[in-house]
């Protein structure tokens, strides 16, 4: 099933790979993929990893499989972005040439999409790695592991407020012992929630507008390695 109103903007990353494979597994495909330039990460672990994300939802992830490889035989066109900078005039002009009004955003980490890109009449669907608004910002899931022993994901429409846009859906996940977080668990949790949103769009025929929620909002910055270590210890992810 092709989602004719939906683009997928993918930078080379494990998150983009998880999104592509989750969409493929759910049979919900974007109309096209815009591939941002960059170096594909090299995976040297197991070819496939199975993770029980939550009751009733087990993900199979091939971390070494690129987005282009996932979509190669599914009829989804992959086009190259003219710039790696999603805020550049060239890239914004390119986006304007596509008719799809919704863009699944899997851009480079830490990049903030600015007003000119957000103002071209397309909505940017982003799945943040944290349970917003309590855990906004960077590496928020490590802070939530320290605070409450969970990792979170929040699907929202991007606005100029960092992780502060209208929320479509959100969920907390129990960390899975022995499965690394940065490259596996966080991407898979986000992909899981993304598929839920896409399934909702499929059922309803349209994306929800989402609801703003700024109550008890906290914005986090990249966690210091010592605190990250304590969080990893809490989830049984230390190498002995």
């Amino acid at each position: 099933m092709i989602l004719t109103d939906t683009l997928f903007l993918a930078t080379p990353s494990y998150r983009s790979r998880a999104y592509a494979q989750a969409m493929s597994a759910a049979g919900l495909l974007p109309a096209r993929v815009i591939a941002l330039p960059g170096n594909e990460p090299i995976w040297e672990g197991a070819a496939e990893i199975t993770v029980a994300l939550r009751p009733g939802r087990t993900a199979r992830f091939r971390p070494g499989e690129t987005v282009a490889e996932t979509f190669a035989c599914l009829g989804v066109p992959v086009v190259g972005a003219v710039s790696a900078d999603v805020n550049s005039v060239e890239f914004i002009d390119q986006l304007r040439t596509y008719p799809e009004p919704v863009l699944i955003f899997s851009g480079p980490g830490g990049v903030i999409v600015r007003a000119p890109a957000l103002g071209i009449g397309k909505r940017f669907l982003h799945v943040h790695g944290g349970y917003a608004p309590q855990f906004r910002g960077s590496t928020a899931f490590y802070y939530s592991i320290l605070d409450e022993g969970t990792i979170g994901a929040t699907a929202l429409w991007l606005t100029e407020v960092l992780d502060g846009g209208p929320i479509l859906d959100r969920r907390r996940y129990e960390p899975v012992p022995g499965i690394e977080i940065d490259r596996i668990q966080d991407p898979l949790a986000r992909a899981d929630l993304l598929v839920d949103v896409l399934e909702g769009r499929q059922r309803e025929g349209r994306y929800p507008d989402g609801a703003p929620d700024g109550v008890d909002a906290h914005t986090y910055y990249v966690i210091h390695p010592v605190l990250k270590h304590v969080a990893l210890d809490r989830t049984g992810l230390l190498q002995h």
Binding site: G109, G110, Y143, L146, D147, E180, D182, H218, Y220, Y221, V222, I223, H224, P225, V226, L227, K228, H229, V230, L232, D233, R234, L237, L238, Q239, H240
Partner: protein, 187 residues
């Protein structure tokens, strides 16, 4: 052997942003503690050779942080003003890894104002410590404190005056206690 790598270069000259840190080795905390212990040893050694501080006027942000640190220490609680200043400076430090000697009333950076001196970072660290002691679940502030301490420990110990050296030794001891306290929560 696990090593702590974040104080090997001058972080005021070449800031560190800690993306995708590899810290999942079982001996990581011990490596961090050893790194801090070695620095404190060098700090104490250099103290005996340090010249007395040159008389100078305190920078505006430095003076404000000194005042707030004294106020929070005496009151035994974090006032709204102190919490707001900590919040603003954490944002500024996390974004640019720099503080400046003075800001506009709405915390905008002012054109031409120089970067803050070492003493401002020492007061900032002390205020963060007090904040973390009073509000221990505010992990963001502890994370920022660790980064500020990395930066301070990335300098040549001889950089510090004897008074600054003693203050930094106390800061690193308090930092260690706060990390121990956090680690104990999960034992």
């Amino acid at each position: 052997m696990t090593e702590y790598v974040y104080t090997r270069r001058n972080l005021f000259e070449a800031p560190e942003y800690y993306h995708y840190a590899q810290c999942n080795q079982a001996g990581y905390l011990e490596a961090w503690r050893n790194s801090r212990r070695d620095f404190v040893g060098a700090l104490v050694q250099a103290r005996y050779e340090a010249a007395g501080p040159a008389a100078r006027e305190a920078e505006p942000l430095e003076a404000r942080l000194a005042g707030l640190t004294a106020e929070v220490g005496q009151a035994g609680r974090v006032s709204a003003d102190a919490a707001d200043v900590v919040h603003r400076l954490v944002h500024k430090y996390e974004v640019s890894r720099r503080l400046y000697q003075r800001y506009a009333g709405d915390w905008r950076r002012l054109e031409g104002v120089p970067a803050a001196g070492l003493q401002t970072y020492l007061w900032f660290a002390q205020l963060l410590i007090l904040h973390c002691r009073h509000i221990p679940r505010d992990r963001q502030k502890l994370s920022t404190l660790l980064k500020v301490c990395d930066a301070l420990a990335s300098l040549d110990p001889a950089t510090y005056s004897a008074a600054q050296s003693r203050a930094l030794e106390a800061i690193l001891a308090a930092e260690s206690e706060l990390v121990d306290q956090l680690a104990r929560e999960f034992q």
